[in-house]
C-alpha cells in the first residue's frame, strides 16, 4: 500500500533557529495535509496542499508541495517554545477520505 517517509525523526534546535521536516512518497499524491501534535495532545490540522508546486504560509510556517506532487516540506522560521511537538504529514490515500500518516518529526527545543 501507499507509504510516506518523513525525515528527520527528531530535530533538536535552539530557540530562534529554523526547523524543517520533509515528507516523501514514491507515488504521486492527490493532496497532502499537515498536522501538529503537542506532547500529550491530539493531532491538530494545520493545512492542506493540493496543487503542484503550491506554497502556503501561516505566520512563521511555510508549507510546500513538490512540483511532481511526490514530496512536501514544512519549514518553521525562528522557532519558539510553542512550536514544540510532533509534526505529521498525511497524504490522501486511494480514498480521498482517508489519510496515510507519516511517522512524524519531533521538534525539540534545546534548553
Amino acid at each position: 500500500g501507499q507509504q510516506v517517509m518523513q525525515i528527520p525523526q527528531y530535530q533538536h534546535v535552539q530557540e530562534g533557529e529554523d526547523f524543517t521536516t520533509y515528507c516523501n512518497s514514491s507515488t504521486t499524491l492527490s493532496n497532502i495535509q499537515w498536522y501538529k501534535q503537542r506532547p500529550g495532545g491530539h493531532p491538530v490540522f494545520l493545512i492542506q496542499l493540493v496543487k503542484s508546486g503550491e506554497v502556503k504560509k501561516q505566520k512563521r510556517l511555510t508549507f510546500q508541495f513538490g512540483e511532481a506532487k511526490k514530496n512536501s516540506s514544512l519549514h518553521i522560521t525562528a522557532t519558539q517554545t510553542t512550536d514544540v511537538g510532533t509534526y505529521f504529514c498525511a497524504p490522501a490515500g486511494d480514498s480521498n477520505y482517508q489519510l496515510i500518516w507519516g511517522a512524524g518529526t519531533k521538534l525539540i527545543i534545546k534548553p
Partner: protein
C-alpha cells in the same frame, strides 16, 4: 462549534478484561474514524465509517476489536479481551465528507493494559 467528544480520558484495565470507548463527532460530520496511536508512532487507522456504514476496517483486529455507529452519529469502540500490546491512545476523528478540510480529532482515550 463543539469539538469531537471522547470518553473516558483514561482507562487502566488488566489483560483479558474488556473495555469500551465512546465518541461523539462534530455535528453534521458524516465520516468518523477510530485511530490507535502507540507512543512515539503516528496514528494508525482502525476503522472508518461513512454515516452508519463501514468504509474500511482492514486494519481492525476483528478477533478482539469491534466498533459500531448505529445511528450514524456517535460511535463506540470495544476491545475484548484486551492484550498488553493494546496499550495506546485511541483517537476518534471526524470530517465533513468531500470538503477536503482536515480531520478534527478528539482528545483521545489513553488505555493502559496491565
Amino acid at each position: 462549534e463543539a469539538g469531537v467528544a471522547q470518553s473516558p480520558r483514561y482507562k487502566i484495565i488488566e489483560k483479558r478484561q474488556s473495555v469500551a470507548f465512546w465518541c461523539n463527532p462534530i455535528s453534521g460530520h458524516a465520516t468518523l474514524y477510530w485511530y490507535q496511536q502507540i507512543l512515539g508512532q503516528g496514528p494508525k487507522l482502525l476503522i472508518q465509517f461513512q454515516n452508519n456504514g463501514v468504509v474500511d476496517d482492514s486494519q481492525l483486529p476483528k478477533d478482539r476489536f469491534s466498533a459500531e455507529r448505529l445511528k450514524g452519529v456517535d460511535s463506540t469502540l470495544k476491545i475484548q479481551p484486551a492484550k498488553l500490546e493494546d496499550s495506546a491512545v485511541y483517537l476518534c476523528a471526524s470530517s465533513l465528507t468531500g470538503t477536503g478540510v482536515g480531520y478534527t480529532f478528539g482528545s483521545g482515550t489513553r488505555l493502559t493494559v496491565v
